[in-house]
Amino acid sequence: MKLALPLRLIYLYRNLTRNPLRSGLTSAAVALPIMIYVLSMAVVDGFENFLDNSARQLRLAVTQRTSIINPLPEGHRRKIEALDPEKTRLISVCGLRYIGGQRENDPMPLSTLAVDHDTFIASFPEHQLTDEEVDAWLRNKQAIMVGRGTAREMGWKVGDRITIFPSVPPYKLIEFQIVSTLENAQDFVTNWCRRDYLEEELKKYGAPSGNVTFFFVKCASREDLDHFRGAIDAQFAGSLDETRTLDEKTFMNEFVTQQFNLPRNLTILAALTVFVAVMAATNTMSMNFRDRTNEVATLKSLGFGSAFAFSLIQTESLLLCAVGGLVGASVPFVLFTYTPIRNITIPLIQTLEIAPSTCIKAVGMALLIGIVAALWPAWLAVRMKVVSALRSLE
């Protein structure tokens, strides 16, 4: 015997609203873990995007072999450039020196790097500077480009003269003039100033100069990246300052994994929360079935087949979990797309972007939870012996 679709839908609706509290609690118990799943995966995706973006830049990071903090002599740049004098495969080499720094009488740490001004633009094209900005950067030794997030927080704007107290030598206030607030850059925290200016300051105070913290080497292709990774280290092997060259993605990934390995830990957490949702949904579905054992027995005795009983319980469970999934996925999506919460910044990945694909995946996950949760009760319904079930009919 078959039930017409409209009747079937009405029956389904009545079933779900028969115990609205229970249906609501089940959907909520699925929605909350799905919400954690969406947030966790958004952070994990953020890290992956960040790393993929690093990979797309076709850059190598060259550090001192022993430790990232140990300096390298600036003279290494010429030796690296000499590996490809035509600059067809090795496009540019940019030395960077960490300054860190803070404003005078303000403990908040800044992230500032001094870079080789002549190769910076070619090495970091992702900053998408305008011609005026490039011009100001090249003309003015005191030029500094500040991350737009930092600029907003500090109330800085283009043209401002600012002073920064560096966390490294010469440990004296240095004056800069802002030439850009990097409106199109992905990174909106870091400030970039000219290394030739820093060198002047270092020499003025007799501090050790002529060092960089690392070099970033822009290559023309992926093959060149692989080639120069080995070639650079070979060039300095056996010298006083040996190097360790990594592609930018591996270099960045080392930081990420060493600081609590957030991507891995969040993935574990997401898996656990999905497990919790399965438990919660299974609980309700088995309760639903138990409450309606007699009803299912009656339906079966009227001629409805096992397939009908199975699909009935499965559809109910699917619907409850779909509602939970939709709520769980849409709440973080709306919060992080349309409300001020979207301005919250997270180190490295910047703002949390909840991709529609993550939400779709989460809803899919919720549907899967619905199917898994109803498997056991639905199976019980299929196997139910009508006679014995009806015998206990109230």
Binding site: A28, S67, S167, Y171, F260, F275, A280
Partner: protein
């Protein structure tokens, strides 16, 4: 009149599937809570055990950590006039100039990824300034020898740092230093470090400066005076008590605690719904039973209490299992790269009594909130109506 506990226990056994599913939900939430907090507790325990209130750490003004601080000998000389510096039995000032560098050492484990381990070059006076540093194995490094002693956490977390092992140091990582001893430092951050003679480290790196100066005062009460002097015109350097310095480094743990609280908050609400669901089902299927209990004289209050006890029975036993699961990570070794010092801090995950208490508190709340509404509904059962159906 209260209902006996066995009544609740047996009721739970009637709905085995439902009870055990809810039980698992709470177990997972508690286990996640304990494990996440054990990270923060481990780091905090290590950093809290570090430093003395009477030790003042002098860094170059502007430097945020020892690794980025450079103090030249003439600047170091200006410290000696600091008021309140303690002396040893021979009258020597307890001032310890220290040189901090790093080297890359692979971690113990299948992947063996390299970690940036802190190396501290010290003079003999350092052992009087940091009296918590005690050799537990082997001997001290000898002056002028390429020898190191290693902290117990570093030995257990990184490769080849046992006594007799070797570690490559120096600007070109080409000097072989032999491990001759292992030290502990009251569980503090120094246990993640490798120590050697300052002159040997300075020579290996070709450095003519120190990173920091640790000053031990006679009395912690004089710390403020000493810090004022060092920051003042006579010295012009940055000074903080060691306790404050390590407290700043533990900022990261506050972020973990915050993140954990948000995640666990959301998960707990989910768990409350699961408990409520189970308890509502339990109430609905026991209407007649409840009516009967009321008829024979049990008050509304004892019905509410009974249902609350039932839901607490689930959540608290689940809590105990969750804690037991999380104890399996207790003591396991981790490390994290501080973005202030750029060196690794090795620590043990700690499921502390505070964490256990917060887990118990959380599951009590989940039990109470999840059980309250169903319990109230149970107590409002209309006796006549329910009995009529019997």
């Amino acid at each position: 009149m209260a209902l006996p506990l066995t009544y609740n226990f047996r009721n739970l056994l009637v709905r085995r599937l439902s009870t055990s599913l809810t039980f698992f939900v709470v177990t997972v939430v508690v286990a996640v809570l304990c494990v996440l907090l054990s990270f923060a507790a481990g780091i905090r325990a290590s950093l809290r055990a570090s430093g003395w209130p009477q030790n003042v750490l002098v860094l170059k003004t502007g430097a945020t950590a020892e690794s980025t601080s450079i103090i030249y000998p003439d600047e170091a000389g200006r410290i000696v006039q600091t008021p309140g510096i303690a002396t040893d039995s021979s009258g020597q000032l307890l001032l310890s100039p220290e040189l901090c560098v790093q080297t890359s050492v692979p971690r113990i484990g299948p992947d063996g990824t390299p970690a940036n381990v802190a190396i501290r070059g010290v003079d003999r006076v350092a052992f009087d300034v940091h009296p918590e540093v005690k050799l537990i194995e082997g001997r001290l490094f000898e002056d002028g020898a390429q020898e190191v002693i290693v902290g117990v956490q570093a030995r257990d977390r990184y490769q080849n740092l046992h006594v007799g092992g070797e570690v490559m140091l120096g600007r070109s990582t080409n000097r072989v230093f032999k491990v001759v001893g292992v030290f502990e430092a009251a569980g503090g951050a120094l246990e993640s470090e490798i120590w050697s003679g300052r002159t040997m480290i300075a020579d290996a790196h070709n450095f003519r400066f120190v990173s920091s100066i640790a000053v031990r005062l006679e009395d912690p009460a004089r710390a403020e005076e000493a810090i004022r002097y060092i920051k003042g015109p006579a010295v012009r350097m940055n000074a903080r008590t060691e306790v404050d310095y390590y407290d700043d480094l533990s900022t990261k743990t506050r972020q973990i605690v915050l993140l954990t609280s948000i995640l666990i908050g959301i998960m707990s609400v989910g768990a409350i719904f699961a408990v409520a669901n189970t308890m509502y089902a339990s109430v609905d299927s026991r209407r007649r039973e409840i009516a009967m209990l009321r008829t024979i004289g049990f008050s509304r209050r004892s019905i509410v209490t009974s249902f609350l006890v039932e839901s607490l029975l689930i959540t608290l036993t689940a809590c105990l299992v969750g804690i037991a699961v999380s104890l399996s990570v207790d003591g396991s070794r981790q490390d994290f790269l501080s973005d202030t010092t750029w060196t690794v801090l090795a620590y043990e995950l700690r499921v502390t009594p505070e964490i256990i208490l917060s887990a118990l508190g959380l599951s009590t709340l989940v039990g109470l909130f999840g059980g309250l509404a169903p319990a109230v509904r149970a107590s409002r059962t209309r006796i006549i109506e329910a009995l009529r159906k019997a």
